[in-house]
Symmetry: D3
Subunit: 319 residues, 6 copies
Amino acid sequence: MEDKKLFDFAVDETLNIFVLIKSAEVRVAKNGKDFLSMVFEDRSGDIGGKFWDASSEDIDNFQAGKVVFLNGKRENYKGTPQIKILSMRVATETEPNNASLYTKKAPMTVSDMKEEISQLLFDITNPNWNRVVRFLIQKYDQQFYTYPAAKTNHHAFQGGLAFHTISILRLAKNVSDQYPQIDRSLLYAGAILHDLGKTIELSGPVSTTYTVEGNLLGHIVIMDGEIVKACQELKISDSSEDILLLRHMIVSHHGLKEYGSPIEPLLLEAVVLHDLDDLDASIQMVTGALSHTKAGTFSERIFGMDGRNFYKRISHQKE
Amino acid sequence: MEDKKLFDFAVDETLNIFVLIKSAEVRVAKNGKDFLSMVFEDRSGDIGGKFWDASSEDIDNFQAGKVVFLNGKRENYKGTPQIKILSMRVATETEPNNASLYTKKAPMTVSDMKEEISQLLFDITNPNWNRVVRFLIQKYDQQFYTYPAAKTNHHAFQGGLAFHTISILRLAKNVSDQYPQIDRSLLYAGAILHDLGKTIELSGPVSTTYTVEGNLLGHIVIMDGEIVKACQELKISDSSEDILLLRHMIVSHHGLKEYGSPIEPLLLEAVVLHDLDDLDASIQMVTGALSHTKAGTFSERIFGMDGRNFYKRISHQKE
Amino acid sequence: MEDKKLFDFAVDETLNIFVLIKSAEVRVAKNGKDFLSMVFEDRSGDIGGKFWDASSEDIDNFQAGKVVFLNGKRENYKGTPQIKILSMRVATETEPNNASLYTKKAPMTVSDMKEEISQLLFDITNPNWNRVVRFLIQKYDQQFYTYPAAKTNHHAFQGGLAFHTISILRLAKNVSDQYPQIDRSLLYAGAILHDLGKTIELSGPVSTTYTVEGNLLGHIVIMDGEIVKACQELKISDSSEDILLLRHMIVSHHGLKEYGSPIEPLLLEAVVLHDLDDLDASIQMVTGALSHTKAGTFSERIFGMDGRNFYKRISHQKE
Amino acid sequence: MEDKKLFDFAVDETLNIFVLIKSAEVRVAKNGKDFLSMVFEDRSGDIGGKFWDASSEDIDNFQAGKVVFLNGKRENYKGTPQIKILSMRVATETEPNNASLYTKKAPMTVSDMKEEISQLLFDITNPNWNRVVRFLIQKYDQQFYTYPAAKTNHHAFQGGLAFHTISILRLAKNVSDQYPQIDRSLLYAGAILHDLGKTIELSGPVSTTYTVEGNLLGHIVIMDGEIVKACQELKISDSSEDILLLRHMIVSHHGLKEYGSPIEPLLLEAVVLHDLDDLDASIQMVTGALSHTKAGTFSERIFGMDGRNFYKRISHQKE
Amino acid sequence: MEDKKLFDFAVDETLNIFVLIKSAEVRVAKNGKDFLSMVFEDRSGDIGGKFWDASSEDIDNFQAGKVVFLNGKRENYKGTPQIKILSMRVATETEPNNASLYTKKAPMTVSDMKEEISQLLFDITNPNWNRVVRFLIQKYDQQFYTYPAAKTNHHAFQGGLAFHTISILRLAKNVSDQYPQIDRSLLYAGAILHDLGKTIELSGPVSTTYTVEGNLLGHIVIMDGEIVKACQELKISDSSEDILLLRHMIVSHHGLKEYGSPIEPLLLEAVVLHDLDDLDASIQMVTGALSHTKAGTFSERIFGMDGRNFYKRISHQKE
Amino acid sequence: MEDKKLFDFAVDETLNIFVLIKSAEVRVAKNGKDFLSMVFEDRSGDIGGKFWDASSEDIDNFQAGKVVFLNGKRENYKGTPQIKILSMRVATETEPNNASLYTKKAPMTVSDMKEEISQLLFDITNPNWNRVVRFLIQKYDQQFYTYPAAKTNHHAFQGGLAFHTISILRLAKNVSDQYPQIDRSLLYAGAILHDLGKTIELSGPVSTTYTVEGNLLGHIVIMDGEIVKACQELKISDSSEDILLLRHMIVSHHGLKEYGSPIEPLLLEAVVLHDLDDLDASIQMVTGALSHTKAGTFSERIFGMDGRNFYKRISHQKE
């Protein structure tokens, strides 16, 4: 076993490392036998490979979420890296078989993120909002700092949910400073809770899928229900103006009915939350796509940006 | 005082009756004085009139929701009936000044509606759904049987909410009989609760407007919150499959995101509920518009039917 | 030859049965030789298979609509059943080579459907509508009871057109009972004729495609022309109010211009017909998709339902 | 009586002339009395005026379509000409009381239009199309040369239907010359029949409204039915390829389902017909609006051109 | 003459002050005489009034843009303030007749805005962008600091264009600090130029309308042309990557083709510019509308925010 | 080497000819080796073929735009012709290796097109337009007569840009003759320049792609900038009415914002230019698709015509 990661190997170099199976789909080859179309992952990124002549035992063993010891060769196909699989076995109990060791992570540690959120909570001076936010952040503490913010689009990595939330809060701080008519407490409270329902909508940080509850209700309705329950517990009226405003922040944050908000923003702070959510998600998606793009060319189509191809400039970005 | 109603008077006939002020808007006349543009209502229908040279005292007295004794003359203007107001005074405590005596009503008595709903509850054989529905129907019992189903579109009359619900339940009964794959319990439970949130979204049976809670959350989110709270009270898990299905019925019943459902129907019963809701509302709107239309001509544009003008046929409808 | 059907065989079991070729597309394999990508059908359902190294004679022989004697092995690929073809030959004249023996059918016999339609005709009391409907039902009698209601979406099976019509008529009966303002005669007449133009738009019950006339005019315009011709034959004015109403029922039944109705519904009965047509088609599509779905999971995307995935619940549907 | 027309009088000049009442709407004045908001018309154009203190006899007499002898004064209000009505009486039998003397007309005589159409018929060399076109042009001969092409938009004047048709035919001639792959016969036949159904959809050349048949079926379906009947009379199969192509030309000529074509153009000639129809209508609408616009300014919003305001240039248009 | 402003007078108080005529439309009263429907303006806000029995001399005198000495009475109509005009005369040369004394202004002085822009220019370190921006800011210096940012929507006041630009630049500063992958120079250069074309599209700071050039080309195309010309003057290639990027910032800043950008954002900085432009405009529009709204109620519909009504909360906004 | 072209060979015939590589994509075969999926082109048309077991040297050699000597066999696969490649080598300097010898061309020679354009220039009698058009036509003379009008849709062949322009001019001539209110000079000037920006937006006549400038600005903005620069050179004001009109013609010629025109047509001539552009493009696309379609069947879906399948009639097109 080596210490190198998937993207540390040169083309044609042989590798013997532990990796996570991100996905594994069974397909039938021309010779009539099954093969597995696989994606491997570690913290250096994702890379694909084919496992030929898969027996039904192989199909059972090599499923998404498993850590395997992979013996293969790094290859290149039309500029896309791939792995030629020579052999593969599932990691044992005594080996580093914890999936979370291999998934990408937010660029902040959990404790730094917790610290930053904690500080910001002091700026939510309205006691009702403060109590509800603290209650829910605590209730879903573990998930909040490990879940991704989405299945595939923006911030689709471990801790992405909390990191996306913090990025919005940082923007919110500056905007509240610049425009004093904004209620900072309401904007912060809405920002912290707006996507927290994803801890129930999504299955978890590894091999993320939608839960049944996520599909049938969606994270907006889920979080609204959580606020209602929190109010019950905390003996706060769920139809006081304070709580109506907070619920409206969550309910309206997708901005338009077409995007899943049953009610569109009717508060200044709701408009700002929606715009900052969009802004951070867009910056993250475009930055991600451009990081794989050659200077002077256009990126792949970015699904979350209306399928547009973004340009990576040639000249120095910083002069 | 007479026993005749607004539409019982012939053109040019003088009337002296109690009526309800449905709306009263202050406007300025060419001579610079205020006047009131009013709509009067009793169970025979709505009719407009102008109160000239209104003093600020008049403006305070003659507000929407008040019952007045009206002395006037029935007139006709371009086929539209109107009232020439000669004099008017607010009804006293000892006179029939209860607004609900003058508003249009559902074509069933409250007790008949209660009876029919009660019978149907026995067909909700799933205990979780049965308990939640009984709990909420009882909690909003008084409003459910008196509120309209909407501010201006379909079933915009006293008791309209319960009557619309019963009409859907009758359709649901036949559809469940015809298609045995439909879960009757779920369809009934969803039908009873689908619009119950309007008891919070709307202000009441008279001079109906939207409440602040109605505007900021909408009846779909409101009712979902009510189900969550009912589950707390009844000690039922709000994320059990039973309750997820019921919540989905309410959340999806507008059919499309554009119409305010954050999640679109993903259950057979949810599709059926949406379709029957639409069907009953459409029949009610078209029937209402045609009741004022001359045979061989087209109705006024019906807002809730894409603004189309419906045709009233000449030949006998029943042969 | 055996009596078992395609879906009666276990995985890995060998089969020797007559089946219908539902479709057969020529493709080129990696080795440069042609193969046939085939779908076989009998009344137990559809199942795919590949015929390798197809000669041009094979391609001529094994075309859609042909009955073949199939020697093969039932296999499974990712949960989807398939057939490994060992050998195959076209059925002879003396064998059961009538395609209609192998196609799925409506869950009613033709004679039961005819009987039910016949009874309902008595409720069309308007003589003009009654005569036109009888004339056209008789003119296309044979096709009406054997054609599918669509090429691929809902009721895409033999007799589907008549069965879909009967389902709508049953709904129409109950709705007419519940809402007496509906003209039952007009609703029934419209329901019977609304899709009858599909007998000209589609090629027939087996290997259904669109005809040139279907593509260039569509079943709505086709049926309107048929009503005009029927009126000529029956000496009824095609612009009398009765016939205008009936033509409007057909012309408007897709509900919106975007869906191919040049005129949108302007009669109460036209609105109801459109809604019941949609309701029955939706129920049929969702039911069909869920019949292949595992409990607790979501169905494949249903094209005719905006591409949504429907949920199959875990708990008992009937309690 | 004078020979001058409405637009021949200077501001403040008194006029005593026969004019047609184009429209007359009853309204109520501030003093509670009815007045008529009228539009008068002669071949110089349209001009409005108010008839105060209208008795019910006046309202009966002065209806749209009546010719009146008008005594009034030409005035100007914000650049819009208007008539101050001094007195008015309905023209008698012995006076020039034929409405058609006062309506705007196509810039060609009926006989010139007939002549031009006749010549073009010779270029429809396909005998089936030629016979159907001749049959229908003859059947609706009188209406074709007097009806407008629309109620209010383009070519909304007497003879507008035939003139619009001829304009398209002239364009069609040049396009057929330039692109030999176009079937000239089919394009001409489609062009002549495409709007002929408006002779049934609209009420006539004066005070044009939609007929019940027009509202319930629309001119596209109406004309398709007429072609079917013509084929019956002429013993031509209505489902021969020739007739399917011709019917498709009519059915598809609005270009998109949203604009009322149940089937969109699938023939080269159908695409061309739709484009030329649009082109001529656009030119006519823009030209009409600019004729009332001051140089260097923008026209009123043109409804049929997406509500845009067109620019009338300052510099000479012809240099 | 007094020192008080329009909104300093109580209801029923008499006023004698200089004000600007913001607009004056000629209309006809019931008595047949012309009157002027006027809006007066000073720095306290806008207020309407009617000038009855206007002679043609009055109509010539009292036009938009003129300063008048107004003798009138402050009144109230349905909560909307208005002026009863008693007499009025145009201000003379020796009186304060400069329109700009009466128009609302940006909440910063011109010199402060110039100072802030000047400082920011130093952060545009790319020499090509720096030169082009300086050239154009200087060329339109006078207009840039006095024009509004729009005719009626957001920042529709004197200096609104520069103030809106500065607000975006402040947001841009923070966003560039937070996301180092953003090219600060490009974002600043784009922000400064994005709406500068409005100095040509609009007529000026008083009684703002669209110019012919504004209508025919729009400020996006106008500004692109200005950059091209600036490059000519400065001897910079207008198709170097630097200039293409800058032109793309301007061309794409409306975000979508539907909103008038012929090309949608394909650079990270272009996405950010569009989002910040939207954000500042939304905050300004909502803040403006809420400033006239009573607590606990909803504002008038805001045209630029999809016609939504925003909520003004009851509870303290700052706790 | 032979003189025959790709489509001159019968199925199974061996060919040894020079052809152009239109495109060559590297793919991986089942055996793990690379192969090239190629399209060959000469003036008889396009035809595909696979080059198996491609070495990296082969991949470098056989790129789009190269002329090769091809030894192969003409085959047929499902009605689509293809080439079985036996061997292949790049053409040498002394062989006919100029790509333009093998690409499809407009059906007019360059000198004929130049001649026709030259003649039409005399009809642009406005001196400003005439000078700008002559200046730009001369500046891009070489590209204008060799570039295609699009990458893949209509007129995607060498010289297609000039040929499409001439086709529009021919239509424009007839339309200007028929409607004298059209300013012929303006229409011609707009027609000649409307797509000239494609000489910068596209990479060239062979293996056409979009340039970076094309992607970031689009041909509409590019050409507007070119007109501005031409005016600088020619000392014509770029904001005189003449030039505003001409710029508007180019800016608006896509007809709708959604199609990339930042300003929609506001001149009669701009409407006509857009319509004629559409008409010629539609005729070209449908004609092209039908040329490969069997009589009595429908063409492949045409992307530029909303994905519709067009019908190729059976009966003689010319009778």
